[in-house]
């Protein structure tokens, strides 16, 4: 009989597994434990939010899931395989503000990942147009970033993350620099795009309201060392509405996260 241990079960596209991940930053004077024994699963198509105070390592963790940084210990798999380096076919990343190239138009920014892979110009343009249409920027393709508002810039970033149609979209505080109203609108827009595409989304934020409003699941992290202190399911119905913000269910979820964060701050 052959042992079965070597056979890896096939994981569906978009599944994420984080197992016992740790990160230690070595400086000349001391070792700083940035992440300690972090484990969780994300099922395909789920919207998961990582929330926690600054210094809890949530952005670091996201960068590891993007293959932009390597953990000191533990494993991370995306669609069943580890991610030792960035793989745009599996993972799209949306960064904080100012990540668009100012010398390119919106369309060219969205085309950028395709241009790197030498996709033919016509195909590139067509895909970029589709992606811009999806994020509600039809007709803005020829503008440069400095001619777009903060919210529009982040829409372009999302379109760039989606243009290669990866099953996973990682978002690192994408709306942090936006004003409150734009931020709410962009949240609704993101949920619409997510519903339309069925992507797995992992979203990092420090806003509790944003976390509960967007998520299927919220993972709460504490700082120094960064570890998971709670993993809660948000069972509020979809589509989410502005009225839910003042409801009891929303409030109690928000309070539960706040209690964790207050304890660790």
């Amino acid at each position: 009989m052959q042992p079965l241990a070597n056979i890896t079960p096939l994981k569906p596209a978009g599944a994420i597994e984080v197992r016992n991940v740790g990160q230690i930053f070595r400086t000349t004077t001391q070792d700083v434990v940035a992440l300690e024994d972090v484990s969780f699963d994300v099922k395909p198509g789920r919207f998961v939010v990582l929330v926690g105070p600054s210094g809890c390592g949530k952005s670091t963790l996201l960068m590891m899931m993007a293959g932009l940084r390597q953990q000191t210990s533990g494993t991370i798999t995306i669609s069943g395989a580890p991610i030792p380096e960035p793989d745009p076919n599996r993972v799209g990343v949306v960064f904080q503000e100012a990540s668009l190239f100012p010398w390119l138009t919106a369309e060219e920014n969205v085309e950028f990942p395709l241009a790197l892979r030498r996709v033919a110009r016509n195909e590139r343009r067509a895909k970029a147009r589709d992606a811009l249409k999806l994020v509600g920027l039809d007709g803005f393709g020829k503008r440069h970033p400095h001619e777009l508002s903060g919210g529009m810039k982040q829409r372009v970033s999302i379109a760039r993350g989606l243009v290669q149609d990866p099953p996973v979209l990682l978002m690192d505080e994408p709306f942090a620099a936006l004003d409150e109203q734009t931020r709410m609108t962009m949240g609704d827009e993101l949920l619409r795009i997510w519903a339309a595409t069925g992507k797995t989304v992992v979203f990092v934020t420090h806003s509790l309201t944003e976390a509960v409003y967007l998520a299927d699941e919220v993972i709460v992290m504490s700082p120094r060392p960064g570890r998971i202190v709670d993993h809660l399911q948000v069972s509020l119905p979809r589509p989410r509405t502005y009225e839910m913000l003042s409801g009891d269910a929303f409030g109690s979820l928000r309070d539960r996260i706040w209690r964790h964060i207050r304890k660790s701050a």
Binding site: A66, G67, P86, V93, F95, S99, F101, F112, H144
Partner: protein
């Protein structure tokens, strides 16, 4: 409309300067032997440009300037790039570069003559020496103007080092580099012409020095106008490219 008004005002100032020059000379307020009239100077300039010897001098100077520039810019850019990309080099070299940059380069000219003799190598060498420090410093500034966020984006989409160089570094640095090119040329031209005026057998700088020594004021001023026009033309050309390449810089 406003742009037009500004342009008109600019032209008016230049015309007025020439008019004042003409009047000062014609009325004898300034001795016309010291300051020949603007018209006479421009007429002399026309004559000089017809002369084969002057054309040869211009060609000599142009060759020197272009050679010095073509050497100093890539070498300086390479050094600047290496310094900026390596934190340790940057920490060590940057203050030293500032020291070197602050020393007037002209005091080294006699040494260039002793080492290279009087001729092409001495003039090109001094032009190179006058230019390279500003190129190095500007390149480090240009490299530092590349945003880390942009490099991360490129990496997250799987850019190769070559793609990162051409699609992120180059466009990020271009506006600063073009400005550097423009300013470097001012240093380069100054270096070469100074070398020609100090010790040389040919070149337009040598001619201007000779006209000065012989009290040929018309020729001297014509030479000044000639070099001014050439320098301004190059400067404006690069500035034009600059505005086309940096429209996104707000």
């Amino acid at each position: 409309m406003r742009g037009l008004g500004v342009k008109a005002a600019r032209i008016a100032i230049v015309v007025a300067l020439f008019a004042i020059w003409e009047i000062l000379s014609r009325t004898g307020l300034v001795n016309p032997r010291l300051l020949p009239s603007a018209f006479d100077t421009l007429a002399t300039l026309g004559d000089l440009l017809q002369r084969a010897s002057v054309r040869k001098d211009l060609a000599v100077t142009a060759t020197e300037v272009v050679t010095a520039f073509a050497l100093a810019v890539p070498v300086g850019a390479l050094i600047g790039f290496l310094i900026a990309e390596n934190r340790y080099f940057a920490d060590v070299a940057k203050p030293l570069l500032f020291f070197a940059f602050s020393i007037p380069k002209s005091i080294f000219l006699p040494m260039f003559i002793l080492v290279f003799g009087v001729g092409f190598a001495q003039k090109v060498g001094f032009g190179f020496f006058s230019t390279i420090f500003i190129v190095i410093m500007s390149t480090t500034t240009a490299v530092e103007s590349v945003k880390v966020e942009h490099l991360t984006v490129a990496r997250s989409y799987g850019a190769t080092p070559m793609q990162t160089a051409f699609r992120v570094y180059l466009p990020s640095m271009l506006p600063v580099l073009l400005e550097a090119l423009r300013i470097s040329m001012i240093f380069n031209l100054t270096g070469v012409i100074l070398a020609e005026m100090y010790a040389s057998r040919d070149g337009i700088g040598h001619q201007i020095a000779t006209w000065g020594e012989n009290f040929q004021m018309k020729q001297l001023l014509a030479g000044v106008v000639m070099i001014a026009v050439i320098a301004i033309a190059f400067n404006e050309l690069v500035r034009w490219v600059e505005t086309r390449c940096s429209h996104w810089r707000t």
